[in-house]
């Protein structure tokens, strides 16, 4: 998802005002909690990009280690993104059975399982 985000931006940047309005709408309408999650998402994305670039430009030698590191970024990213959409009050209708507390518990369980495999795969 990392390249996609960067790929969408240049196309939309041609008309300057929509991007600005997007940013404005985002910073106005998003709660602090979600912004906090978003900043973590951005961090994970950057970390994934750095690892991917390293793999392409330098070496992919311990391929399992690269996969473990990269998958931990991707996996954590999607789990966090899931958490974000679950706690987003706008999605309350979609997630009738998942309360924010339950969502956080899901997030923790998913992350633990994910990192168990990451740790096992690092080699």
């Amino acid at each position: 998802m990392a390249p996609q985000k960067t790929a969408t931006k240049p196309q939309t940047s041609a008309p300057a005002s929509p991007v600005e309005s997007l940013w404005k709408a985002y910073s106005d309408n998003t709660s602090k909690r979600l912004k906090f999650i978003d900043s973590f998402l951005v961090f994970l994305m950057l970390s994934g990009i750095v690892q991917f670039l390293y793999c392409i430009l330098v070496t992919n030698f311990p391929f399992n280690a690269f996969l473990a590191g990269f998958s931990s970024c991707v996996g954590q990213f999607v789990l966090t993104a899931s958490l974000r959409s679950q706690v987003n009050p706008e999605n309350k209708e979609t997630f009738k059975e998942v309360s924010p507390e339950r969502a956080f518990a899901d997030f923790v369980v998913g992350s633990i399982v994910l990192h168990f495999f990451v740790f096992n795969f690092l080699g």
Binding site: Q4, N64, S71, V78, L79, S82, V113, F121
Partner: protein
């Protein structure tokens, strides 16, 4: 509302609910018991023995795991298989099955229950079939309700299509894989419905277990993305889909790479790319939805849509490009053979030679599924009526599964759960409709639910059961009653009836009793069919055969074990045994001797070598045998007993596989008569008569018939009265019914002659007494 029969009215709702759930538990327990019990025919009719071919290897590997621990098993290098190459077992198997029975074995021993590992292995498949029934119950419950779930569980518990792979003793990967398949699908549906990452994680964990257990995991790898893709294309994208799919894929893929046999395949091969592609697509789509929520400008949204489509196309092109560049391995032959049924026969004869890889014959659909075959389409159609996300899943599963089951006999197994689910939905809808005590609305009772239906309340006195049975009839009456010009109202009512909120009602007890009675009759007959098929067709271990005596009593034919134990007790421990690959696992499992090739079939050339040795003349075969240190050659011969699965019938595959590697030396047409027939009698071609397999099969066969014409009872052909002679091999053992014949390869002659002339010399000596001068001259000349 009028009732067809009276219901007790003095029960509290909670009592009804509790009783219902109690009855469900009881029913599930009975279903599990029936599922286990019906799989025990194999043990009762024969004995607690491991069946067929592959299970023997699994059993042998499990013994290593149980006796030496997991790490030894993981690092196990087996020097006796694929002699002289050996096999790295830990890295070339799906360890899930062995690990499961190892865990069960250790738990039982920790509880001081000294159960033999063989019994754990034999009874593993029946045990897991009970779990499969439970998983199917859970899955169907999500689809419709508990009663449909119970029906589905009962169906999957006893349906022959699943029993064929899970009788006691059939210790193969499929034994646990179907449970894992159903449970993964259940967690996926559950994750999708609730949008919970927890169930996504559960799905990923069971997917991991499935990857560790069976090569058929690729079915899940492609089914779930296909479902997600169809949902996106139907415009049903939701955050729940994102959560479920992302958590399943991210964790599941990483987990699947932990299995050494799978390795980096999930990021390197085309079979797994669909899942990756849908994962990427979901990220883009969900990002687009997020942006869309913040910006409402029409133009911007169009731009967004275009960019999503562009990125999607670019991503697909990227994957295709990487495949061409070689970073991603293209589809393997095994997958091609699923699309092009003739592919395997042309390019990979080894796959085509396995009987369970043949296309399915029509009768076997009925044999395996019986009346579920015609309930199945009804269930699929009923899925269209509700068409929630999980119904879409079942529809896709039905389409894909039916196709695969038609292509390969063994893939009937993946279709069976879907058939059971759909058939249960159909049957339970039927029973719901006909057992529901509520009568159709009459004129004097205005319908309470909707205002539109109050028009339909005018069904009048002609509401005979036959007519109200169909959805259309009340609708037609309604349109008559309503203003005729007002078509719109008519369609509206028709729509409301077709919808779920107004299910069809049945009046009168007579039609109810008839329909429910017929359904019950079908169910009872189904149970009888399943029991019959299970006990007669699917419970044979194929290691032990059974036949009937004249008086009807059972006669056990135990030639295989007889021969394998002969090998075990009369040969050196490192004596290499050559046989066709089918018997490799059995020889290493029961006789404990090194084999050249076995059922793993990873090395085509090695198998072709054996095929070449079997299909060439003795002079050509002998150096091959000696180079591979072969001491014994084992063949299966059914000509005396009428056992059709013998080596002469498999022989053409040996020829074909050998021809694939040595097209100059082995040619299939040479083994046919000039008329193009495959014969073993006097008309057989000279190549056929000279080849090692023919000679070994019919060596001394004519002696049995004491001068009269020998008859091959499998092929119904009369053989010449003088049988073939062998110079380079000698008969070592022939089992009671001649089913297994073992030949010893002679050592090189101590005087340096080739064995043929040495034999001729020995025989010449004998003949010398009769006619000395002529014979001696001939031998001198030939040597």
């Amino acid at each position: 509302m009028a009732l067809a029969y009276s219901l007790p009215s003095n029960l509290a709702p909670s009592t009804v609910q509790n009783t219902a759930s109690f009855l469900r538990i009881i029913a599930l327990a009975f279903i599990s018991g029936a599922a286990i019990a019906s799989r025990l025919f194999a043990v009762i009719n024969f004995e607690s023995v491991i069946h067929e071919f592959d299970p023997w290897f699994n059993y042998r590997a499990t013994k290593v795991l149980a006796s030496q621990g997991f790490y030894e098993f993981w690092n196990w290098f087996d020097p006796t298989a694929w002699y002289p190459l050996g096999r790295v077992v830990g890295g070339t198997i799906y360890p899930g099955l062995m690990a499961t029975s190892g865990v069960i074995y250790n738990i039982l021993h920790a509880l001081n229950l000294p159960v033999d590992i063989r019994n754990v292995c034999v009874l593993l498949a029946p045990g897991f079939s009970a779990l499969t029934a439970w998983a199917t119950y859970m899955f169907t419950k999500e689809l419709k309700d508990e009663s449909a779930g119970l029906l589905a569980a009962a169906f999957i518990g006893i349906v022959p299509g699943y029993i064929s792979r899970s009788v006691a003793g059939s210790y193969d990967n499929e034994a646990i894989a179907i449970f894992l398949l159903m449970f993964t699908f259940y967690s996926w549906i559950k994750a999708l419905k609730t949008g919970s990452a927890f169930f996504g994680t559960i799905a990923a964990l069971f997917y991991f277990y499935m990857v560790a257990a069976w090569g058929g995991y690729a079915f899940i790898t492609n089914m779930i993305p296909l479902h997600a893709l169809v949902l996106i294309l139907m415009g049903r994208f939701s955050s729940r889909l994102y959560v479920a799919y992302s958590s399943w894929y991210a964790i599941g893929t990483l987990a699947s790479m932990q299995v050494p046999f799978v390795g980096f395949q999930p990021v390197r091969t085309s079979e797994h790319m669909a899942a990756l592609g849908v994962f990427g697509l979901l990220q883009i789509v969900s990002f687009a939805y997020l942006v869309k929520a913040h910006v409402s400008s029409k133009q911007f949204q169009t731009l967004l849509f275009v960019s999503v489509v562009t990125i999607g196309i670019l991503g697909t092109l990227g994957i295709v490009g990487l495949t061409y560049k070689g970073y991603i391995a293209p589809w393997t032959g095994r997958f091609y053979s699923l699309w092009d049924t003739g592919y395997a026969k042309k390019y990979i004869p080894i796959i085509a030679s396995v009987s369970e890889h043949q296309p399915t014959a029509w009768p076997s659909f009925f044999m395996d599924l019986q009346f579920l075959v015609f309930l199945f389409p009804v269930g699929v159609v009923l899925c269209f009526r509700e068409l929630r996300d999980e119904h879409v899943f079942v529809i896709i599963y039905a389409l894909v599964g039916t196709y695969f089951a038609g292509v390969m006999v063994r893939l009937m197994l993946t279709l069976t759960p879907c058939v059971c689910v759909a058939a249960a939905v159909a049957l339970s809808t039927l029973l719901d409709t006909y057992i529901d005590p509520r009568m159709p609305d009459t004129t004097d009772t205005p319908a309470p639910d909707t205002d539109r239906v109050s028009v339909a309340g005018a069904t009048t006195s002609e509401g005979t059961p036959k007519k109200t049975k169909k959805d259309k009839t009340p609708a037609a009456e309604v349109t008559q009653k309503a203003s005729i010009n007002d078509f719109a109202t008519g369609f509206e009512v028709l729509g409301s009836i077709l919808e779920k909120d107004k299910p069809p009602r049945v009046a009168g007890l007579d039609s109810r009793i008839v329909v429910v009675g017929v359904a019950l009759y079908l169910l009872v007959f189904f149970v009888q069919h399943c029991t019959w098929v299970t006990s007669y067709a699917y419970s044979s271990p194929s290691v032990v055969l059974a036949s009937r005596n004249q008086d009807g009593s059972q006669h056990i034919i135990d030639d295989f074990r007889e021969a394998y134990y002969w090998l075990r007790q009369n040969t050196r421990e490192d004596a290499v045994v050559m046989s066709w690959w089918d018997y490799g696992y059995q020889i290493s499992g029961m006789a404990d001797r090194p084999t050249l090739v076995d059922n793993n079939t990873w090395n085509n050339t090695h198998i072709a070598t054996v095929g070449k040795a079997m299909s060439s003349t003795e002079e050509v075969a002998y150096p091959i045998l000696r180079k591979h240190d072969v001491e014994y050659v084992l063949i299966i011969f059914g000509g005396l007993m009428g056992y059709s699965g013998d080596d002469i019938n498999k022989f053409l595959w040996m020829v074909r596989i050998a021809q694939g590697v040595w097209p100059d030396e082995i040619q299939e047409p040479n083994y046919f008569t000039p008329a193009g027939e495959y014969r073993v009698d006097a008309q057989a071609s000279q190549t056929m008569k000279d080849c090692l397999m023919y000679k070994m099969s019919y060596y001394r066969f004519s002696n049995l018939f004491g001068g009269s014409t020998p008859v091959d009872r499998v092929r119904n052909q009369h053989l010449p009265t003088t049988g073939p002679t062998l110079d380079y091999l000698e008969e070592a053992f022939t089992s009671e019914n001649w089913l297994v014949r073992i030949y010893q390869v002679k050592k090189e002659d101590s005087l340096g002659r080739d064995l043929k002339s040495a034999n001729a010399f020995v025989e010449g000596k004998k003949r010398k007494r009769a006619k000395p001068p002529v014979r001696r001259k001939a031998i001198v000349a030939s040597s």
